[in-house]
């Protein structure tokens, strides 16, 4: 089964369409969708599948008064004029993807990074509703990250800069949709620092005692 590299795994798309992903993952998925037309087309198919499944089911009757109550509500409401979606404004490179703003703010320039190691900065979203970890990571260019694998699922979206690992080269807008079978050691490209946002439903597992010691300090 070929899994699309740099795009969303079909299983992730189905979960998103079904509303079955933890919010932290949904936020990363939605951010990628904002940037990727081909995944948006795949999502459209996933939504059509969900709709068809629901239509195939036999309905569950509403309460006896529901229909009349609804009809009465309609009488007082006029359908709104067609929604006009504005032409996309010129992209302001300082703006974060819309789905991330509730947790991280609007602009890269106002992010309050916390240094967690040489060349590595971190921001962790604080919200119990996320259902999983959601963090942003800024890694200086040309830097080797510790070797690690993932407990269950990790979904990473590259926002700026780039890195290379065993799966290939990942640049802005690409996602790495990984599970515990993948152990990798990203190396950031030369040029600008690499900024990623990642959702993870279990702590990363680092190989090597230095990295493990670092993990206990960083709570990664």
């Amino acid at each position: 089964m070929n899994v699309p590299v740099r795009h969303l795994d079909y299983a992730t798309l189905v979960g998103y369409s079904a509303g079955a992903l933890p919010v932290a993952f949904a936020a990363v998925v939605a951010s990628h969708l904002e940037l990727c037309a081909s995944c948006r087309a795949q999502l459209h198919a996933a939504d059509a599948i969900g709709a068809r499944l629901i239509e195939q089911q036999e309905g569950a009757p509403l309460s006896a008064s529901a229909r009349d109550a609804f009809r009465a509500r309609l009488e007082g409401v006029v359908p709104a004029p067609p929604v006009v979606i504005p032409e996309p404004a010129p992209v302001d490179p300082d703006l974060l993807p819309t789905p991330l703003r509730p947790w991280f703010g609007e602009r890269y320039s106002t992010l309050r990074w916390r240094a967690v190691g040489p060349g590595i900065h971190l921001l962790r979203a604080q919200d119990d509703a996320l259902g999983a970890q959601l963090l942003m990571l800024r890694t200086a260019s040309g830097k080797r990250m510790p070797m690690h694998s993932h407990g269950n699922n990790e979904l990473t979206l590259i926002l700026r800069g780039a890195y290379d690992d065993v799966l290939g080269h990942f640049g802005p807008g690409d996602v790495a949709d990984l599970d515990h079978e993948t152990e990798h050691q990203p190396v950031t490209s030369h040029g600008v620092p690499c900024i990623c946002v990642a959702a993870s439903d279990a702590p990363m597992q680092f190989s090597g005692w230095i990295a493990r010691a670092m993990q206990s300090v960083l709570r990664l």
């Binding site: 936020a27 939605a30 059509a48 599948i49 969900g50 569950a60 609804f70």
Partner: protein, 275 residues
């Protein structure tokens, strides 16, 4: 009534029954209209006469809006009901039918038309929301809210971009997610209208929602192997995450994901797109 009159009232009939006799074509066309006008649970009152001077927008497949109330009075309801079950065995025209109704709702704020949409979709949305584990009273509130949102936004509906069913699914799903996160951070899901008005290049007439593809999707769902169908249903109809499915079925997470992947690829092909 002459044959071409029947065609004008229910133009799709011609396409379905190319080989049928003119007689069959006529009666089929009329009885479908009758049967649909008296959908279950609906009052027997005929809808307001259709105004041919200012017809609603044409639907994308080119069908004329239909159903002047006077045209159907000669057909007996019983005859109509029998025809109806045969005609509705084919799922594709339903998507066309609903989009026609939506055009009329958009053009005339036609409450009777909208209530037909309600009678079909509201109980199904209710079943869907109950399946998500919501209490019945709250599920009903969400159904009413979803249908009201559909009414408010009827004029934004564009059948070229998504079927009515798909749009309603998005509305109901987003309302459900928002209700779970009341007061928490804003939704990570884009608004359904934004989704509806996504790039033309990706979701055009040849896109995944082209009407004929719904037949293929229905067949592809029916043809899924039991295991794949089960996981797809657990995902959509019970909103189970991959980890929850894995725990519940004692199935490794990797297998859950690969099974869903295979199922999605098959259904995507059924829709007419590549996967």
């Amino acid at each position: 009534m002459r044959g071409h009159d029947a065609d004008r009232l229910c133009p799709r009939m011609g396409a379905w029954n190319v080989h049928a006799s003119e007689e069959l074509l006529r009666s089929g066309a009329q009885s479908r209209c009758v049967a649909l006008m008296h959908a279950p649970g609906e009052s027997k009152r005929a809808p307001a006469a259709y105004d041919f001077k200012s017809p609603p927008a044409r639907s994308p497949h080119g069908a004329m809006p239909k159903l002047p109330a006077t045209a159907v009075s000669k057909v007996t309801p019983l005859h109509g009901a029998v025809r109806m079950s045969k005609l509705l065995a084919e799922p594709a025209p339903d998507a066309v039918f609903w989009s026609d109704l939506m055009s009329r709702v958009a053009a005339n704020a036609d409450v009777d038309c909208f209530m037909r949409i309600y009678d079909h979709f509201a109980p199904r949305l209710n079943r869907y929301l109950l399946g998500q584990g919501i209490a019945p009273a709250q599920a009903e509130d969400l159904v009413q809210e979803a249908m009201l949102r559909l009414w408010r936004r009827a004029r934004s509906f564009d059948a070229k971009r998504a079927s009515l069913g798909t749009w309603l699914f998005r509305i109901a799903r987003n309302l459900h997610i928002d209700s779970l996160r009341r007061g928490a951070s804003a939704t990570a899901w884009p608004d359904d209208v934004e989704l509806l008005h996504d790039d033309d290049g990706e979701v055009g007439a040849s896109g995944p929602e082209a009407f004929t593809d719904h037949v293929g999707l229905g067949r592809a769902i029916d043809a899924l192997p039991v295991g794949q169908a089960r996981l797809i249903r657990m995902s959509y109809l019970e909103s189970k995450s991959h980890s929850e499915i894995s725990n519940e079925l004692g199935m490794p997470l990797g297998s859950v994901k690969s099974t869903l992947r295979r199922a999605f690829a098959k259904l995507r092909r059924g829709l007419g797109g590549e996967a």
